[in-house]
């Protein structure tokens, strides 16, 4: 019969601290840099709310935003083409993010708020 031994758990303890999106002026590579990665608490994040949905896309302006990963622009162009052919009542506006896929872009968000009703973001991965 082998003796049993006691060992310590090697896994870190939960902190309740999560990552948050980067700011527009975040340094390059900040997404992978804990020095610059913004953080937030579970309490703050849990107060975030999803927007109310619109009743239909017909007659609405939908922004198609290429976030910058490979193929994103081409995918959004094809999606725009699909809407034009199959849902002509939906106005689509294609935009490419001007900063990296990891950073905030408030100017674009403000434009969408002013002129749009919904957004399709992609393509991640």
């Amino acid at each position: 019969m082998s003796n049993k031994c006691v060992v310590l758990d090697p896994i870190g303890q939960p902190s309740g601290i999560f990552g948050r999106r980067l700011e527009i002026d975040s340094p390059m590579f900040a997404i992978h840099d804990p020095t610059y990665q913004p953080r937030d608490t579970s309490e703050n994040l849990s107060s975030l709310k999803m927007a109310e949905r619109i009743d239909t896309l017909e007659g609405k302006a939908v922004y198609l935003v290429n976030t910058g990963f490979a193929g994103g622009r081409e995918f959004m162009e094809e999606l725009q083409d699909w809407f034009a052919k199959n849902r002509p009542g939906v106005k689509t506006i294609l935009k490419n993010k001007t900063t990296s896929m990891f950073t905030d872009e408030p100017d674009l968000w403000r434009e969408i708020k002013q002129n749009g009703d919904a957004v399709v973001f992609g393509v991640g991965g």
């Binding site: 060992v7 303890q13 975030l48 992609g122 991965g125």
Partner: protein, 424 residues
């Protein structure tokens, strides 16, 4: 957009990352409605993308365009309205007692190791490791995650001692492990690209704990280099919550992840100021400097012009960042034959000739490493990130050495031609 601007969104992520995204969204405080087209999206013909859009989400079986419409128009459910980012449950300090054999199996099968045998972190071994610092076991050291959004796991001095024991460290190595922990930086961040990291130790601690900065400094010929570098990997696994396929997505991975190119700078044979001094530290301060990139690109030989040409023709995914590891003979030649008294002048020369818009002298670094058996340099696409002080983790009475410190054979150097040869 959802919370700040009140605009409904339909995020689109390829199906390859559906598991990752479904778990990751738990960290965003919102149950976003993702659509998952097939993978890959990049570098495929237009016809393929067209087919994706006209086809179904392979995860849900729902047509892609219908799913996007649904994401933007279906009223929110109570679950979506009341979604919370939740803290994970606390973990016990001790695991259930078991046999050594079963515990080894458990650590391995739970993915808490790098696949190599570990030293089990018993209470006695961890207590001994804690003699390597004056800090209290429950003192907070840092928090880490290999992901960008998921909950960071925090760790104290005792948790770092557990990792140090597992990696095979002795108490004399522990201050370096604590400094690595204090950085909060995992060596293997989550990315489909296969990130690699490097750590360079400077200052008096290099020699006090027997690190190798000379011949074969990057090879497995030195105890301290091996276990310290490994500890950063185990830290990334256990504190950074690195789980293959879940939080670790490097498509090919890299063997650099085993040891993170852990070595010391050869300050004694360098004609330049030590690396950490160039980053603002005093020569008698002990530090660890951390780098990250992807690849060891070349092993080269020749003058500064050749280094510039190599940097110009090779690059990682983003280009413009290089860290050269130079044998001391190279640094001597660059200084005495080409007039580079300060490596920043060399950085300026190389950066000024690169095409990358991201090139800047600060992103081209030089570390002197090697045994002067060949005037060679190693090109990496690594960026320098930070230097962490080790001194604050060293006991006030100095490094805690074993009665007889463990050391591997040091490279034999001699002047009479009999090195390594036994003559009867």
């Amino acid at each position: 957009m959802e919370n700040d601007y009140g605009i409904p969104t339909a995020p689109v992520v390829t199906a390859r990352f559906a598991d990752y995204v479904e778990r990751d969204k738990l960290s965003h405080g919102m149950a976003l409605r993702f659509t998952y087209p097939p993978y890959p999206v990049g570098w495929v013909p237009r016809e393929t993308l067209h087919r994706y859009i006209e086809g179904n989400d392979p995860i849900t079986g729902i047509p892609i365009t219908q799913e996007i419409d649904d994401a933007l128009t279906r009223p929110l459910s109570d679950f979506e309205r009341n979604f919370k980012a939740e803290k994970r449950p606390e973990r016990p300090r001790l695991l259930e007692p078991d046999t050594e054999e079963n515990l080894h199996r458990m650590f391995l099968e739970n993915g808490w190791t790098d696949g190599l045998p570990i030293i089990l972190p018993t209470e006695e071994r961890v207590a001994e490791m804690l003699t390597g610092t004056d800090r209290k076991p429950d003192e907070y050291v840092g928090m880490m995650s290999v992901t960008t959004h998921e909950e960071r796991l925090q760790y104290n001095v005792e948790k770092c001692a557990v990792i140090a024991v597992m990696a095979g460290c002795r108490p004399e190595h522990f201050p370096v492990i604590l400094a690595l922990g204090a950085s909060g930086r995992p060596s293997m961040p989550s990315s489909t690209t296969s990130f690699a990291s490097m750590m360079i130790v400077n200052g008096p601690i290099r020699n006090e704990i027997g690190m190798n900065s000379g011949l074969g400094a990057l090879s497995p010929v030195n105890y301290a280099n091996s276990v310290i570098g490994r500890a950063w990997t185990l830290m990334s696994i256990c504190f950074g919550d690195m789980r293959p396929g879940a939080t670790f997505t490097a498509t090919t991975g890299t063997t650099i992840n085993y040891n993170n190119m852990c070595c010391a700078e050869n300050e004694e044979n360098s004609v330049w100021e030590p690396f950490h001094v160039r980053k603002g530290y005093k020569p008698n301060e002990s530090t660890v400097s951390l780098f990250r990139g992807w690849n060891v690109l070349t092993q080269g030989i020749g003058p500064a012009q050749r280094m510039m040409e190599v940097a110009k023709n090779l690059g990682g995914p983003f280009g413009g960042s290089y860290t050269f590891l130079l044998d001391p003979l190279v640094a001597k030649s660059l200084k005495h034959d080409e007039g580079y008294n300060d490596p920043i002048e060399l950085s300026k020369y190389i950066a000024g000739n690169l095409q990358s818009p991201m090139a800047s002298p600060e992103r081209i670094n030089f570390v002197v490493v090697g045994g002067e058996t060949n005037p060679m340099w190693v090109t990496t696409d690594f960026s320098y990130f930070q230097t962490v002080s080790i001194g604050e983790w060293i006991p006030k009475d100095g490094i805690k050495h074993d009665e007889k410190s463990l050391r591997m054979p040091v490279p034999v150097t001699c002047a009479d031609g009999t090195c390594g040869i036994t003559i009867e």
